[in-house]
Each structure stands twice: as structure tokens, then as C-alpha cells.
């Protein structure tokens, strides 16, 4: 077979985009009259905006060879607190800040717990906060959803711009712009700044980072704060889209986020992965669900298929890496 290093490099960086395109073509061929409508495409983007944000936060944690199981609970707590704040009549700019701030607070607890208490693995600290934070979300709401948010608070989750081309309710969702800004910001941070590179270094060899004068504990705290912030922002979008804060939101969201990150080519053992890959991973999960939905495949089968895709994606990665070592 023909072997070209350039082609292999290209496939390594952008192969995942090809997967997304192939999926779109296949789904479009199966139900062209439904899939390709602006309304359906708008929906896919809107529905996956929250997962995209949470997955981006999860990605930063996974790059350090960590894991944050608490993001689903964090998102729910952010949603219900900002809904409460909105109902209490706080000015909307304050309410907008509540979600992300709650996320940052949970992230701080995770990071500080991990580094100060020296728990053996972030799995344990965040498993604790997964439960505790979810419990708090139920406590502050008595388990009931809180609806009726200020329009300004709903804006980011609900608004879309039809640009005079699309017929409502289709258009560019405001939440897509939030995701794009976060993704570009995160990409710049991870690739172009010293702290971003240190995050990768910690994932590759924490000892190397430490002896190079990198404040490893400080960066670990920062990483969990980023994950919390993203979960809080995701909560703001979801609260806006659904016009409510419900304490059982985002159940198992952490697993979807991990799946998206892994499908997107990041290594579970840290040090590897790209922002673009994570976004592709989110899209692959979203397209799979949408494609199966519009073909009337039951949600039970969707779970089976997503499971298979996760295993398949990692297997491809194993093969690719083995080939790279041989070369």
C-alpha cells in the first residue's frame, strides 16, 4: 500500500472531520427531507451546545490525566441557583453570572480537595462532589423544577439569528456563538500560552513539569475550575433553552462528556487531544442520536450504538498509535 507521511499527518489531525462529514452524508441520504432542513440542523446545534461546553471543560481535565465526574451535578446546581436568583428578581446581569460562578466554586472545591487532601485520584474527589452537589441541587429546590426566567437570562440559550435567509425557527443559534467563543479561547489558551502547555506537560509527565518549575498543584486547581466554569455556562444555556432550572438536569452528562472527549481522539491517560477533536466528538454523538431519531430507531438502540462507537473510536486510536510506533 502507498504510504505517505503527509497524508498520515493530515488524517491524524483532520480525519475526525472526515468522519463527521461521512456521517452527515449517510444520514442525509437516509432521510434527506428531514435531516437537511435548516430547522433540524439548528436543533442539532442547539441541543448539543451544552454538551459541547461541558465536554470542553472535561477535555482540559482529561489532558492532565484527570477526570471530573461532577460536571453533570455542577450544571444542575448552576441551573437551579440561577433560576432561583432570577425568580428572586435579581438584576439579569447578576443572574447571568450566577451559573458560571457556581461552577467555578464547585471546581475550586474539586481542585483544592484533590491537591490539599492529596486524594489518590480525582475520580474519588469528583465522585464525592457528584453526589454532594446533586444533593444540594435537590435540597435548594425541594426536588421541583423552577421555571419562568427573565428574558435576558434565557437569551443565550434560546436566541437565534435567521440572518434574513432562514425561516424561523431556524438560524444561527446564539448558543453556537457561545460555544465557538469558548472553543477558540480554549484553543488559544492550550496551544499558545505557557499555562496551557503546562497542562499538556502535566498529562505527559507531572514530574517533568514539577522539576521545570511548573506549579503543578496550582494548575490542577485551575483545570477543575475551568471544568466547573464550563459546566456552569452549559447550565446557563440549558436553563435558557428550557426556561427552567431542574435539579435532575444533566444526569449522566459526565459520561456523555467523557465519551465525546474520547471519541474526539483525546487520550484517557492524559497529554493528548485537541479542541477540534472534542467538538467533532460532540458532533458525532449528536449526529448519531439525531440520525437514529429521525429514522425512528429506539433510544435503547441509540445507547447500544453509542457504546459501540466509543469502543471503536478508541480501538482506531490504538491501531493508529501502534502504526506510528512501528514507523
Amino acid at each position: 500500500m502507498l504510504y505517505s507521511p503527509k497524508l498520515s499527518k493530515f488524517l491524524e489531525s483532520y480525519g475526525i472531520i472526515l468522519v463527521v462529514i461521512v456521517m452527515m452524508v449517510v444520514i442525509a441520504l437516509s432521510r434527506p427531507e428531514v435531516f437537511l432542513t435548516p430547522q433540524n440542523l439548528t436543533n442539532i446545534l442547539k441541543q448539543n451546545a451544552t454538551l459541547a461546553l461541558v465536554a470542553l471543560g472535561m477535555f482540559v481535565v482529561i489532558v492532565t490525566a484527570g477526570i471530573d465526574l461532577s460536571v453533570g451535578s455542577t450544571m444542575a446546581l448552576s441551573m437551579v441557583t440561577l433560576a432561583l436568583a432570577s425568580r428572586m428578581g435579581l438584576p439579569w446581569p447578576v443572574v447571568l453570572l450566577v451559573g458560571p460562578l457556581v461552577g467555578i466554586a464547585v471546581g475550586l472545591v474539586n481542585g483544592i480537595g484533590l491537591t490539599w487532601l492529596k486524594l489518590p485520584h480525582p475520580f474519588i474527589m469528583t465522585l464525592g462532589t457528584l453526589n454532594a452537589v446533586r444533593g444540594i441541587a435537590y435540597l435548594v429546590t425541594n426536588g421541583a423544577p423552577i421555571s419562568g426566567l427573565q428574558p435576558e437570562v434565557r437569551y443565550l440559550g434560546q436566541a437565534y439569528y435567521d440572518l434574513g435567509i432562514f425561516a424561523p425557527p431556524a438560524g444561527i443559534p446564539a448558543s453556537l456563538i457561545v460555544v465557538a467563543v469558548c472553543a477558540i479561547g480554549l484553543w488559544f489558551f492550550l496551544e499558545k500560552t505557557s499555562t496551557g502547555r503546562h497542562i499538556y506537560a502535566i498529562g505527559g509527565n507531572p514530574q517533568a513539569a514539577r522539576v521545570s518549575g511548573v506549579n503543578v498543584d496550582g494548575i490542577l486547581v485551575l483545570v477543575y475550575v475551568i471544568a466547573g466554569f464550563m459546566a456552569g455556562l452549559g447550565g446557563l444555556l440549558l436553563a435558557g433553552r428550557t426556561d427552567s432550572g431542574f435539579p435532575n438536569a444533566g444526569l449522566m452528562l459526565e459520561l456523555d462528556a467523557i465519551a465525546a472527549v474520547i471519541i474526539g481522539g483525546a487520550s484517557f491517560f492524559g497529554g493528548r487531544g485537541t479542541v477540534l477533536g472534542v467538538l467533532a466528538g460532540v458532533l458525532i454523538m449528536g449526529l448519531l442520536r439525531n440520525g437514529l431519531n429521525i429514522n425512528n430507531v429506539s433510544s435503547f438502540w441509540q445507547m447500544v450504538l453509542i457504546g459501540i462507537v466509543i469502543i471503536f473510536a478508541v480501538w482506531i486510536d490504538v491501531i493508529r498509535r501502534r502504526a506510528a510506533v512501528r514507523r
Binding site: 505557557s194 499555562t195 514530574q207 513539569a209 522539576v211 521545570s212 518549575g213 497529554g271
Partner: protein, 261 residues
């Protein structure tokens, strides 16, 4: 050393206790500018504790460290690096998932400083890495290669390049050849000699007499937590140094380990 210039580094009465355990006591020695000092000692003699004190990882419990005649106190490896003391670790301490040039400048990236953040000038970092590696006659395919794709000797060379990337005065090397294939040992030892030519002092910790006798100017033995004996390399022999490691002085031919049958 009567009448000579101030030594680059001097340890005076250094001791280190871990609870009830005495790791080091009353350690005194010096390293001159551009001198290569070999440090030998059996396992548990205190070599790595001493090196961790010099590189700022540990504080001495007693005694002081002088750099160019001035007492210095290191609170972290960062302080030691700022003072020009660098450490090369036995396991290289490189991030395998990152390219050579990023490993060399990790923690000291060139670029625009914005508070605690540096916006890295990757182009400049590559250029700097290339010219620095050329200076040390280290050949790599590309500074963009990840260090996990390098051989042991190349990794050691990158670790040494990192240690000397910024005006190092003293490089401490912990067992620099222990993790290498035999054919790569010579290259690394030559690199140590090259550092000396560049005016950098080196402390080499090694178990291999061949390493010590190939590249050092002077050798010092630690025994049971203190400096036991030292000599200019020309005035001693392998057997005598091996005797020091085992705590015997005035070594005779008949005691030499390689004569034991």
C-alpha cells in the same frame, strides 16, 4: 586551594535529618568554576539527598550553601535555577508527549509576558532550540519530534540541553549513563566534557568508575552521610575510590575488590 579564587559552590557543615534519621551530617565540599566533580557513594550514602539540597528540592537542616562566596537559600528548584544551578535527572524528567523544543524551554518559554501567563513565541522557541542544540553538537531530526520518539541517549542530550539553556553555572547530573545503551554512554560523557569547555561546572553522580575516570577532574566519596574522602583524579585510582565507597582508606592492592577470588 590556598590563594585560589572563590569556588563556584561551597557547602559548609550541611546536615539533613528526616525525623530521627540522619541522612547527611557535616558535609563540606566545594566545586570550582568549570570543574567536573564526580560524586560516588554506596546506596544510602546520601548522594541524592545532597543533590536535592543543592537543587533546591530540600532545605538543609543545618549548615549553609555558598554560591560565589555568598550564602544562598533556595526555597524551590526555581530559585536554584535562577541562581544558575540546574539538575539533570536519572529518568530525564521529560514530557514524552511534547516536542524537544517545548521540553527545553518548559517553565521559561520565550514570548510576551502577561502577568503569570506567557503568550509563547513558538517560532522563536524553535529557533533558540535549534541553535542551542547546534552549540552543544547535539543532532536531532527536528526540534518538533516528541521526546518519546527519541533514544535514551538523545533524551539525555535533550535533558542536558534543557539544563544549559539559560546561563547555567553548575549542572548536577544524577547517574547520567545509568539508563543508556552502552553505545550511547560515550556520547553523553563527551557532552559533559563539552559543557566544561563552555565554562559550566558539572557534578556527576555515578556508580560507574569508567564514567568518573573518563570525564571528571576530581572525585569525592560520600560514606554514611558525610564526605569521606576526595582527590584530584590524577592522584587516585579506581581501587582506592572503590575502597572509599566501602568506607576504607589507605587501600592496598590486596584489598581491591577485583583481586578477590
Amino acid at each position: 586551594m590556598a590563594g585560589s579564587a572563590t569556588p563556584l559552590l561551597e557547602a559548609r557543615g550541611v546536615a539533613k535529618y528526616f525525623g530521627a534519621i540522619t541522612a547527611l551530617h557535616d558535609v563540606n565540599f566545594q566545586v570550582g568554576h568549570g570543574e567536573v566533580l564526580g560524586v560516588v557513594g554506596d546506596n544510602g550514602a546520601g548522594k541524592s539527598t545532597l543533590m536535592k539540597i543543592l537543587s533546591g528540592l530540600y532545605h538543609p537542616s543545618e549548615g549553609e550553601i555558598l554560591l560565589d562566596g555568598k550564602v544562598v537559600k533556595f526555597n524551590s528548584p526555581k530559585d536554584a535555577r535562577a541562581a544558575g544551578i540546574e539538575m539533570v535527572y536519572q529518568d530525564f524528567a521529560l514530557a514524552g508527549n511534547m516536542p524537544i523544543y517545548e521540553n527545553i524551554y518548559m517553565g521559561r518559554e520565550p514570548g510576551i509576558k502577561l502577568g503569570p501567563l506567557t503568550i509563547i513565541d513558538h517560532h522563536k522557541a524553535r529557533e533558540m532550540a535549534r541553535s542551542h542544540l547546534d552549540n552543544l553538537h547535539i543532532n536531532v531530526k527536528s526540534v518538533d519530534q516528541n521526546t518519546e520518539d527519541l533514544s535514551g541517549g538523545q533524551r539525555q542530550a535533550v535533558a542536558i540541553a534543557r539544563a544549559t539553556a539559560f546561563h547555567a553555572q553548575l549542572v548536577i547530573m544524577d547517574e547520567p549513563t545509568a539508563a543508556l545503551a552502552i553505545k550511547e554512554v560515550g556520547k553523553v560523557l563527551d557532552l559533559i566534557k563539552r559543557l566544561k569547555e563552555h565554562g559550566v561546572a558539572v557534578i556527576v553522580i555515578s556508580h560507574r568508575m569508567d564514567d568518573i575516570f573518563y570525564c571528571c577532574d576530581r572525585v569525592m566519596a560520600l560514606y554514611q552521610g558525610t564526605n569521606f574522602a576526595e582527590s584530584q583524579l590524577a592522584d587516585t585510582s579506581r581501587n582506592e575510590v572503590i575502597g572509599w565507597i566501602m568506607g576504607t582508606k589507605g587501600h592496598t592492592e590486596s584489598l581491591a575488590h577485583d583481586r578477590l577470588q
